[in-house]
């Protein structure tokens, strides 16, 4: 305790050393004066008195030294001295310092940026109370390969009654939109109809007002609504008195009861576009059909219950229900933690990026170790002198590590600047549906991470050269001149190994980038079955209250007629369901097999469309005809099926004239009038699935077609203002939503892979650059060392060409050695990447061949310049210099 106090007071003294010594001088001076006074009073002469006083006080310098010693803290003094000395050393070698700090800044900055993203997306818990207890409950049908199916109300009700593993379960109906009218421009907003307990289950309090109470869950109860923060802020200007007021949704008045806090959204949002802006309750869960899957279910585990235990209990409940109800045949329950549900997709990609960027940092470290070794020749003399003057090995080691640490701190400081910029760029190019990514930034945790990697980086690149450098034979080090010593010769060997290591690491990154590039090339060339270019899509949702079915049909008809007169528009159509917008699976039967068992019922993507749909998307018609204006409610009810369905149901027969029926529409047989080409409706990775197209004009109810599809012969976005004008002329209150080009829609599923490809390519480029710098540095240095040897060779008759080849081969050997190890390493390392690859194997020979070629070229180019300089040497000058 006392020793601590002494230590602290000594620490404080560090900062006013000079003042302390001055004060002490004054004190001693006063003391001497008093003693002198005393002796003169006793009768001594002034001179005698002064001498006596001095003697009595003791030797002055010795005393000062004792006091200084007593005041000082040896360790800290050394550190301060090391830092001052290191700064001086670094200032003396500005080129080295700048190179080192910049490469470190690049490595540390990139790592910080990637970590800030990983932290925001993967490490931060979801913004719910005890989020680790939240699970999504899905129905699954492994026989059909469905693992993430929305659930039926009847099954949900039974689960809720029978389970003992959840403290609560709630339901969300996510497929709901409202036209919000009243003040301001009419808009379509995403909404969710939920059970009243959802908010308490998630553990989220409203910002204003309240959430739903139990009674409001009953169908037909008073119309109340909870607002999302974004809508409240943008539409109602953050008006706190909004609670209790009415807003118009689909023309009906809803009383606002509460406003959610900023950033609140449900666990499950299928994509960013459909994040709900309002919540309503009064959900009707009385539908007894077991196979009517409509809802998303979320549950909270009881404290102490694991996901596994919950899954086991749900399995047994599902097994019971499967026996009890034929509609449940082959259906079971799958639980997914809310965390996996939201970030499960992004996780593998982000982990790959974290590993890749760590490799970049490792290359940076190797490069720096190399630079430090290159400096060792210069430093050796200086260190030997210090050693001779009494510094022990530990002091030299700490001196060298201090230098590394200072470089690293400088790198981290500049790196934070790079990270700020890089984080913003990463957020900008990341897939927009990456959850939580917008919150990424240089938060304290991220800064701590930066400090951590800066420290470890310094140790990694600094320790080895420092140990080597501080460990020398004093005598020989002092005697030897800097050139040709054994020390530098073995350092040269080590530097070659380091360069090879850089190449090996770079190979892994370049191979990874190559594999991703090839994956994307492959995916871009997948035959989708339609042509997405020059197509515009938007939703024009009609209000059911305002428009009855007949009026809706008329509205769309007039709209399409007018759109066809707009310059730039080739074809226009309305439809329900466009490619890449999910799956609207419906069971169907054919005349040949009208009563299949429920589990055997075939299933197809069912789309209701207007004429010209096939023209807009350029889906080829293989047989028969497309729809026309004549396919009205009173005409023969018709359908177009795709080739996949035709082959499945009527192999070897002509499908035209065959009849099918959608399972829920018992009344109406549809006659097949055409066969269309297959379309990858569910994304580039999906197989061709059976599809049924029906004219929306014959659909039993007409509210489904809301999607507008327009083919243009100009930039599709250029016609948007004209379309808005046409719609405004028809109904000034009609909102339009989700305006996008089909190109953007079809690229969306590739977004994550593209993000990964872009970053890996960037990292690979940095790695290549660093490896090139590494080879260049070593070769340039060794060429200088060997100038005399080359001079002699030339004098003895070697051609410039021979000399050039010698150095070039030396560099290539370094590179090739590393490339071989790198290729071997890549076989293992790229396994991590395999989940992100498509249409390409991790061992793709073309990639490996081209990577070898690229890196060999890089090594050759980097070695060429020093080689050329060595070859151009004038033997006479060199030899005379010696």
């Amino acid at each position: 305790m006392n020793s601590t106090r002494i230590f602290i007071s000594r620490l404080k003294a560090l900062f006013h050393q000079r003042a302390d010594e001055r004060e002490f001088d004054e004190e001693v001076h006063a003391h001497l004066a008093l003693l002198t006074d005393r002796y003169t009073r006793q009768g001594m002469s002034l001179e005698e008195a002064q001498t006596a006083a001095k003697r009595q006080l003791g030797p002055d310098t010795q005393l000062k030294e004792t006091l200084r010693e007593q005041r000082s803290v040896r360790f800290f003094e050394n550190v301060l001295q090391d830092i001052r000395f290191a700064l001086r050393q670094l200032r003396k070698a500005p080129a080295f310092t700048v190179t080192a700090v910049l490469t470190l800044a690049l490595g540390i900055g990139l790592n910080t940026a990637v970590f800030s993203i990983v932290h925001a997306v993967l490490l931060r818990p979801l913004p719910f109370k005890n989020a680790d207890q939240l699970v999504m409950v899905w129905e699954q049908n492994p026989h059909r390969g469905w693992y993430h199916n929305i659930v039926s109300a009847a099954n949900f009700n039974d689960w809720r009654k029978e389970n003992h593993v959840f403290s609560d379960m709630a339901i969300i109906d996510p497929f709901l939109t409202f036209n919000l009218t009243g003040s301001g421009t009419p808009v379509e907003i995403q909404a969710e109809r939920v059970t009243p307990n959802l908010f308490t289950l998630l553990g989220v309090q409203p910002l204003l007002g309240r959430t739903f109470v139990r009674e409001e869950g009953r169908p037909g109860s008073a119309r109340v609504v909870v607002l999302g923060h974004a809508l409240w802020a943008s539409r109602y200007g953050g008006d706190r008195s909004i609670v209790g007021k009415q807003i118009l949704l689909n023309g009906e008045g809803y009383t606002v009861i509460g406003v959610m806090p900023v950033g609140f959204s449900d666990v499950y949002s299928p994509s960013v576009d459909s994040t709900a802006q309002v919540w309503v309750s009064a959900l009707d869960l009385s539908d007894p059909a077991r196979d009517d899957h409509n809802y998303t279910a979320v549950a909270r585990l009881r404290p102490g219950v694991s996901l596994k235990q919950a899954q086991a209990e749900m399995n047994s409940i599902a097994a019971r229900l499967e026996k009890q109800y034929p509609g449940n045949k082959d259906w079971s329950v799958g639980l997914v933690s809310a965390d996996d549900e939201t970030v499960g997709n992004s996780r593998p990609a982000l982990i790959i990026l974290l590993v890749a960027v760590a490799l970049v940092l490792l290359i940076v470290c190797v490069n720096l170790a190399n630079l430090l070794l290159a400096r060792s020749a210069v430093r050796l003399r200086e260190l030997a002198v210090r050693r001779a003057l009494g510094a022990n090995r530990r002091r030299l080691l700490s001196q060298l590590l201090t230098e590394s640490l200072l470089l690293s701190i400088g790198g981290a400081a500049v790196g934070l600047g790079i990270a700020t910029f890089a984080t913003k760029s990463l957020i900008a190019i990341a897939p927009i549906d990456t959850p939580g990514i917008e919150t990424a930034g240089l938060q304290p945790v991220v800064l701590a991470y930066t400090a951590g990697i800066a420290f470890f980086t310094a140790i990694i690149f600094g320790l080895f050269p420092a140990i080597r450098l501080s460990n020398f034979e004093l005598g020989s080090a002092l005697k030897e001149s800097s050139r040709g010593s054994t020390q530098t010769a073995s350092a040269g060997k080590i530097r070659r190994i380091l360069v090879s290591t850089e190449f090996a690491l770079a190979v892994v990154l370049v191979v990874s980038a190559g594999l991703m590039i090839k994956t994307l090339l492959y995916m871009h060339h997948i035959e989708l079955g339609f042509q997405p270019d020059h197509v515009l899509t938007m939703r024009v949702p009609l209000n059911d209250v305002k428009y009855n079915e007949r009026q809706q049909a008329e509205f769309y008809q007039t709209l399409l007629e007018r759109l066809h007169t707009v310059p730039g528009i080739q074809h226009a159509t309305v439809c329900h369901g466009i490619p890449f917008y999910g799956w609207s699976g419906q069971g169907f039967v054919t005349q040949e097999n009208p009563h299949p068992a429920p589990a055997e019922m075939p299933d197809a993507n069912y789309l209701t469309i207007a004429p010209q749909y096939f023209d807009v998307l350029r889906i080829p018609l293989k047989k028969g005809r497309a729809f026309t204006e004549g396919d009205t409610q009173n005409a023969l009810h018709v359908a177009v099926v795709n080739e996949s369905l035709a082959r499945q149901e009527w192999p070897g027969q002509n499908p035209i004239g065959k009849r099918i029926k959608i399972a829920w529409n018992e009344a109406s047989w549809l006659t097949v009038v055409g066969v269309s080409g297959n379309v990858r409706t569910q994304g580039p990775e999906a197989n061709f699935a059976p599809e049924i197209y029906a004219p929306y004009t014959q659909h039993p109810w007409l509210k489904t077609p809301r999607q507008l599809l327009i083919r243009t012969n100009v930039n599709p976005l250029a016609v948007v203002p004209s379309i808005r004008r046409v719609i405004r002329e028809l109904d000034p209150e009609q909102p339009i939503a989700d305006v996008r080009t089909l190109d953007a829609v079809t690229l969306q599923p590739l977004a994550l892979r593209r993000f990964l490809k872009d970053l890996l390519t960037g990292f690979a480029a940095v790695a290549l650059l660093l490896a090139a710098i590494g080879v260049y540095g070593v070769m340039a240095y060794s060429a200088t060392q060997r100038l005399r040897e080359m001079g002699i060779r030339i004098a003895l008759g070697a051609t410039q060409h021979n000399v050039l080849a010698t150095i070039l081969m030396d560099g290539l050997r370094c590179g090739l050695f590393g490339i071989c190890f790198g290729l071997a390493g890549s076989f293992g390392a790229t396994r991590l990447l395999s989940s992100q690859l498509y249409g390409v194997k991790t061992t793709d020979p073309w990639i490996f061949a081209s990577v070898t070629l690229i890196l060999t070229l890089v090594a050759a180019i980097a070695a060429y310049f020093p080689a050329r300089r060595a070859a151009g040497v004038d033997p006479i000058t060199v030899l005379r210099e010696e």
Partner: protein
């Protein structure tokens, strides 16, 4: 150097200074040296500079504090005084000193009587 002078042990000097400051009130270095000289009947003679080393040690331990003032001959001088913590320390040290001195005295007497 005069060999008849007793070598003052480091800890002992600290204790002497602490005791002197505690009974005399604030003193400067010179005053302390005089007082110790006087009290010890010139038995303890020391390089007066060592007083300062001792004072620094005590100050670092937080047992004494110092203040600039004016000495009797109108010079600027640093006056030292005991802190509360120093008083406690003094009591503890004095007890232990007496115990040890007692033991040492007894041992020495025994040795002489043999």
């Amino acid at each position: 150097m005069n060999s008849s002078r007793s070598e003052v042990l480091q800890g002992t000097l600290d204790l002497l200074i602490l005791k002197t400051l505690s009974s005399m009130g604030p003193l400067h270095g010179y005053g302390l040296a005089r007082r110790i000289e006087q009290l010890s009947d010139d038995v303890l003679r020391l390089n007066e500079g060592t007083v300062y080393a001792s004072l620094l040690r005590l100050a670092q331990s937080g047992w004494i504090t110092s203040e600039w003032g004016v000495s009797e001959n109108n010079r600027k001088a640093k006056f030292y005084s005991v802190t509360k913590r120093g008083c406690k320390q003094l009591t503890a040290e004095a007890e232990s000193w007496e115990r040890i001195a007692g033991v040492v005295g007894r041992v020495l007497q025994l040795a002489e009587n043999r």
